[in-house]
Amino acid sequence: MSDVRHFIARNVASLLRNGDVINLGVGIPTLTTQYLPDDVEVLIQAENGVIGCGPEAVGEQIDRDIIDAGAKCITVIPGGWFFDSAVSFGIIRGAHLDATILGALQVDEKGNLANWYVPGKLLPGPGGAMDLVAGARQVIVAMEHVTKYGEPKILSECTLPLTAIGVVTTIVTDAAILKRAELGLELVAIAPGETIESVRAKTGCPLHLPKEGQVGEMLQ
């Protein structure tokens, strides 16, 4: 299970470019930065009001006034900046983030995202999720391909309440990397051990093959 999470994180990392400004959701996304290639450095924003997030603070580094959105005490790199929530979501809404990476309950072929509410479960608050996916240039969903009951999470149409309409640009799972294209979802790469057919079998909507080139292999 932990291996799967790291496998997904490594493949998300491969999508980032040097100089990108990104926001990381909780869970798998926070694992991403440890898999960045040596020549790729990114700047991390946290929506509670900091840009230039470094690793978690330990020992004497701990400053209780410096947290990330998950309430973890963090370090900040030289050249970092602090700001209030209005500016923070200005950065987010104003397309100043190259990517936001976050988990999902469901994604569909129209790029719709459901990741905030399962009716009948604990009353949820959207937090910053609706803002992040509406504003970032790329919305990268990092999640397992199917539910723990083996049901598809990638569908023709989300059945859960939506977080946003038509925003998802890329999906990275334990089985495949999918990009949203004009016609729907395009199969960019598959995991070692998977085939195009095996990925299609666990996906709830048609998957298109790339118009040019061929389906690649995900990083081990």
Binding site: D63, D65, D84, S88, L122, P124, P126, D131, A164
Partner: protein, 229 residues
């Protein structure tokens, strides 16, 4: 009636007298950081009820700084909660589902911007955030520049409770690092703003370039008590 004064230092009693039934109150902070824990205690100690509370999140962890604010909710003294992030409060669902509490869920950035709109005299703003979701229900849709937007309205309040690292007696205040969060925008968005500071310094001691909240947005200043973090 002007908000310029060189001595805004107030007593606990003076603060408690400001709390009245039926008020809408903004609560600063993001998780424990920048949360005005002393003012939460005073709010809890007051008798005010039928309140509308507005905050990013509100933990009910008994060991946490938000606990007195969450108790105001538990005690049935809050009519409506306007909030972005509920997962730090395990009790909200039962209060909500037993219809003892109205809850308005607001995307975090929209919450911040609605508060700023009230603070800065705008009649509202257009955003795509939340469009097409459950949270768009009942909201006016405006077509502009070829696109559909939700019209979000200003969120004004009677009181704001905010926190700073340092403040002077005019109410100028510095909010260090990630303590700014909702404090800087809530301060100007209420008719009356009470600011709690860890340290109070003479006027002129805070470098103007570091001030996050100017005194004109603040009515009372109090010294933080030792509170839970």
């Amino acid at each position: 009636m002007g908000k310029f004064s060189r001595d805004k230092l107030a007593s606990k009693q003076a603060v408690i007298e400001k709390f009245q039934d039926g008020q809408t109150i903004l609560l600063g902070g993001f998780n424990r950081v920048g949360a005005p824990g002393t003012l939460f205690k005073y709010l809890h100690e007051s008798a005010a009820r039928d309140l509308t509370l507005v905050c990013n999140n509100c933990s009910n962890d008994p060991a946490g700084i938000w606990y007195p604010a969450s108790q105001v909710i538990s005690e049935g003294r809050v009519r409506q909660l306007k909030i972005s992030f509920t997962r730090t409060n395990t009790e909200l669902i039962s209060l909500y589902e037993s219809r003892k509490l109205e809850v308005e869920l607001i995307p975090q950035g929209t919450l911040a911007e609605r508060i700023r709109a009230a603070a800065y005299g705008l009649g509202g703003f257009l955003t795509t955030v939340g469009y097409g979701t459950l949270l768009a229900e009942g909201k006016q849709i405006i077509h502009a520049n070829g696109k559909d937007y939700l019209l979000e309205l200003p969120l004004h309040a009677d009181l704001a409770l905010v926190k700073a690292t340092k403040a002077d007696l005019m109410g100028n205040a510095v909010c260090r690092a990630t303590t700014k969060n909702f404090n800087t925008i809530m301060a100007p968005a209420a008719d009356f703003t009470i600011l709690e500071a860890d340290q109070i310094v003479p006027v002129g001691e805070l470098p103007p370039e570091e001030i996050d909240i100017p005194g004109i947005f603040v009515d009372m200043v109090i010294q933080s008590e030792e509170v839970l973090k």
